[in-house]
């Protein structure tokens, strides 16, 4: 099934995508829901990020070329022996086709990272590997926008990765993704930068969920970014467009805009 969230009658609503239509639902795929009778054209809908205020986990250093590139850039980065997760702020989430806004005081070294995102479907703690696979509701696409200077020089990572709009997600959640066949491709102003089979991770979603739930309860609607592949992207400029496409998950497309706030 394909699930999305979209603007509907001055509010947001979850919906099921069937062919070129959205069937709005009352409720949510993470609780109970009921299909409504109306139909909305997918092409005309304003899609939002397909999750609502999740706990937002993220792992990194999870694909070979990206890990090698990161190690080459910083002696603070090393390969992880065990799966782990960090966090991203839910306040930073934005939707497909929304602008990624760079604050006026941000240094000129913002880069992007296309990633596969796991969406969790069960409340769970102390998951086994089999249980972890069952706890996965589906997948969507994410972009882990980062300011290099802030991420490396701030005492702790906060604005470096979590400025408003810096975590685009979407366009929809696919519950039946074949992860062994899915490819992710990242395009920058129309040029492909990198493509990879998403299952070439060091730690699978089940590995990371087992690690997280050793200590922390996950809940339906929580999400987990799985890391990116390839050498670091170029630093973006005002007007640049990035597309992250995953077979079966559509394309997450966003434009970068440099803010001109006076302060």
């Amino acid at each position: 099934m394909r699930w999305c969230r979209f603007e509907h009658k001055n509010a947001s609503s979850f919906g099921i995508i069937e062919d070129d239509k959205i069937i709005p639902v009352a409720g949510s795929p993470f609780g109970s829901y009921e299909r409504l009778k109306t139909r909305v054209s997918l092409a005309r809908a304003k899609l939002l990020a397909p999750v609502d205020k999740p706990i937002f986990y993220a792992t990194s250093r999870n694909y070979r070329k990206n890990l090698q590139d990161s190690i080459g850039r910083s002696n603070r980065i090393f390969a992880m022996a065990e799966p782990w997760a960090g966090y991203r702020a839910a306040s930073a989430i934005t939707g497909p086709d929304a602008d990624v806004v760079i604050p006026s005081d941000c240094p000129d070294d913002v880069y992007f990272q296309g990633e596969i995102v796991v969406v969790i479907g069960k409340k769970a703690r102390h998951l086994t590997h089999d249980g972890a696979r069952d706890a996965i509701f589906g997948y969507t696409i994410g972009n882990d926008v980062t300011c290099d200077t802030w991420a490396t020089t701030d005492t702790r990572s906060w604005r470096g990765k979590n400025v408003d709009t810096w975590k685009p997600l979407g366009p929809w959640i696919e519950t039946e993704l074949d992860v062994d066949k899915a490819m992710c491709r990242v395009r920058y102003n129309g040029q492909e930068l990198v493509g990879w089979n998403i299952n070439q991770w060091y730690f699978s979603p089940a590995d990371v969920l087992v690690a997280i739930t050793r200590y922390i309860t996950v809940n339906p609607g929580d999400i987990l970014m799985m890391g990116t592949e390839g050498v670091r992207s170029p630093y973006v400029k005002h007007g640049d467009q990035v597309e992250v496409e995953v077979s079966g998950l559509g394309t997450l497309r966003n434009r970068f805009v440099k803010s001109v706030d006076w302060y």
């Binding site: 604050p103 590997h129 906060w158 408003d164 200590y215």
Partner: protein, 263 residues
């Protein structure tokens, strides 16, 4: 006014504390609310954390004794107001047990802190807007596992294990911040006492900085830092943080037994 959240037969509810009675409220202090006829004695209520799925900001190292203590262990003083996150999934209530996972090393510390609760959201706050944004104050405890904090790339299990962020017992909207003193008792013995307004960075300064990059929402919380240093806690230890006007946040530490591995 004193706001709390507590268990009812129909699930969690907000309430107003008047003398030793809770007046149940329909709605929340962060949007619309209506007083109901239902009342119950404060003593008989099961209090929950007085906030619901907030964005949970924290400023670390904001009181000089604690800064000096951490500096002796090698941590530098951050140069400007900055902010960090904790996960809402870790929030617990007063009188709940703080559960230390079986595989956690024996170096868990408490950090009792005042918390500013945000009542008005926004972005790019002016000084006056940041002052008006503060709804009230409550108490928190930023329980931390020190070796995990050093070994992990970022704070996940070191700060965000289930139950590791007790908050409460209530929110006071009319706190006399200039007079408020925080006292921390560990197994009944006073460890540290300080005026909460002896902060290095005032909450207004921190909110101005955060709102520069992230939109703040009503109900979000900002932990303001701890004073002094904590010993490593043991099974059955009790920590109590009292702030004049905010009551006492009391929690017991419990070491989890190793689980039998299955699957």
């Amino acid at each position: 006014m004193r706001w709390c959240r507590f268990e009812t037969e129909d699930g969690p509810s907000f309430g107003l504390i008047e003398a030793d009675t809770i007046v149940q409220v329909d709605g929340s202090p962060f949007s619309e609310f209506k007083r109901m006829r239902k009342k119950r004695p404060l003593k008989e209520a099961k209090l929950l954390a007085p906030v619901d799925n907030p964005a949970f900001y924290v400023i670390g190292r904001n009181y000089i004794g604690h800064v000096e203590g951490r500096a002796r262990a090698g941590a530098p003083m951050p140069p400007a107001p900055w902010a960090w996150w904790r996960s809402a999934s870790a929030i617990a209530s007063t009188d709940s047990d703080i559960i230390i996972p079986a595989d956690c090393p024996d170096d868990v510390e408490y950090e009792c802190e005042p918390i500013a609760v945000i009542g008005k959201g926004g972005k790019n706050f002016t000084r006056r807007e940041a002052q008006d944004a503060i709804f009230g104050y409550t108490i928190g405890n930023d329980v931390t596992a020190m070796s995990w904090a050093r070994s992990d790339p970022g704070p996940w299990r070191s700060k965000n294990c289930d139950t590791w962020k007790p908050v409460g017992p209530w929110i006071e909207t009319d706190l006399d911040v200039e007079a408020a003193v925080c006292t921390v008792l560990y197994n009944g013995v006073e460890q540290v006492r300080w005026h909460i307004n002896n902060w290095i960075y005032h909450p207004v300064d921190v909110l101005i900085t955060i709102s520069r990059y992230m939109t703040l929402c009503p109900g979000d919380i900002l932990m303001l830092g701890a004073e002094g240093m904590s010993p490593f806690v043991q099974h059955n230890d009790v920590v109590e943080a009292t702030i004049s006007g905010l009551g006492t946040l009391r929690n017991r530490f419990v070491r989890e037994q190793p689980r039998a591995q299955t699957g």
